[in-house]
């Protein structure tokens, strides 16, 4: 009886030990989102949405972009904003992205009930073009 009890306890301990390990998230291997050789690397992140006293939403975005074939090459970018009802709700923003300006902040102010749409266009030095749309 004692032997069986000890064996059972040992197996229980072994089982518990096996389950005490730290479980690591492995979803990071999916951070690469390009499905074909990209001409540009880019990433748009929403930094904040604040509602002001006039019941408007103030969006701030952080955009990073680069030419995939040459990190030192500049690219041209343009960001346009829209809602379902109003085209060009905020002024478009854009220019040449080189060195430090490959990371810029974008902002837009819209009525609180509206959904915001963004269209980002990136142009490369050899005529490459990428158009990407987002909604918030």
């Amino acid at each position: 009886m004692n032997k069986k009890y000890s064996l059972g306890l040992f197996i229980l301990c072994l089982f518990l030990f096996q389950n005490c390990g730290k479980f690591e998230k492995i979803d990071d291997i999916n951070f690469y989102s390009y499905t074909e050789a990209p001409d540009f690397y880019y990433d748009l992140k929403l930094v904040s949405v604040e509602i002001d006293s006039y019941q408007r939403q103030h969006y701030i975005f952080d955009l990073a972009m680069s030419y995939a074939h040459d990190p030192e090459q500049s690219i041209t970018y343009q960001v346009l904003f829209s809602t379902l009802d109003i085209s060009g709700v905020c002024n478009g923003q854009g220019g040449t992205a080189d060195d430090e300006s490959k990371n810029v902040r974008l902002q837009c102010l819209i009525p609180i009930e509206d959904k915001l749409f963004l269209q980002i266009t990136l142009l490369g030095p050899r005529g490459e073009e990428l158009v990407q749309q987002y909604s918030f």
Binding site: K25, D28, I29, F31, Y32, S33, Y34, E36, A37, P38, Y41, D43, K45, V47, S48, D62, L63, A64, S66, Y67, A68, D70, P71, E72, Y77, Q78, V79, L80, F81, S82, S87, G88, N91, G92, Q93, G94, G95, D99, E100, S101, K102, N103, V104, R105, L106, Q107, F117, Q119
Partner: protein, 129 residues
């Protein structure tokens, strides 16, 4: 015997000389180094053929990968802010592989502004959607 010794010395020196020719260039400025963003880097150098491996130290939340389409580009992705060090192994056209280290890459939380990393706002235009 002395010939072997000279060949050995030449090999050692050529290995270090190659190491100096390899450089790592970030695609994004440091202000864009934020958590949960994929950060691309290109390894440059006349003899560079491809990135073999990238190992991170100092920030357990970081993962790395070599770009599946461009073999001189690798990416790091950190779930959390903090400093990270990289040890990169590069295959070259010469006999030896090169080893490059990038130390103290600072990853920030998005939206946390500190003095030296204020991101500029984009210029406005009158373009409609």
């Amino acid at each position: 015997m002395i010939q072997y010794f000279l060949v050995f010395i030449i090999c050692i020196f050529s290995h270090f000389a190659l190491g100096q020719e390899v450089s790592v260039v970030s695609h994004y400025p440091e202000t864009a180094f934020v958590a949960k963003r994929m950060l691309p880097f290109t390894v440059q150098g006349a003899s560079v053929q491809k990135v073999i491996s990238v190992i991170t130290h100092g920030n357990d939340s970081c993962s790395t990968m070599v770009d599946p389409y461009y073999n001189k580009i690798f990416h790091i992705f950190c779930r959390e802010a903090g400093s990270v060090n990289l040890a990169i192994t590069v295959e070259s056209t010469d006999r030896f592989d090169s080893f490059v280290t990038l130390n103290n890459i600072r990853i920030y939380n998005l939206g946390v502004e500190i003095e030296e990393r204020e991101v500029p706002f984009a210029e406005e235009s009158e373009e409609p959607f």
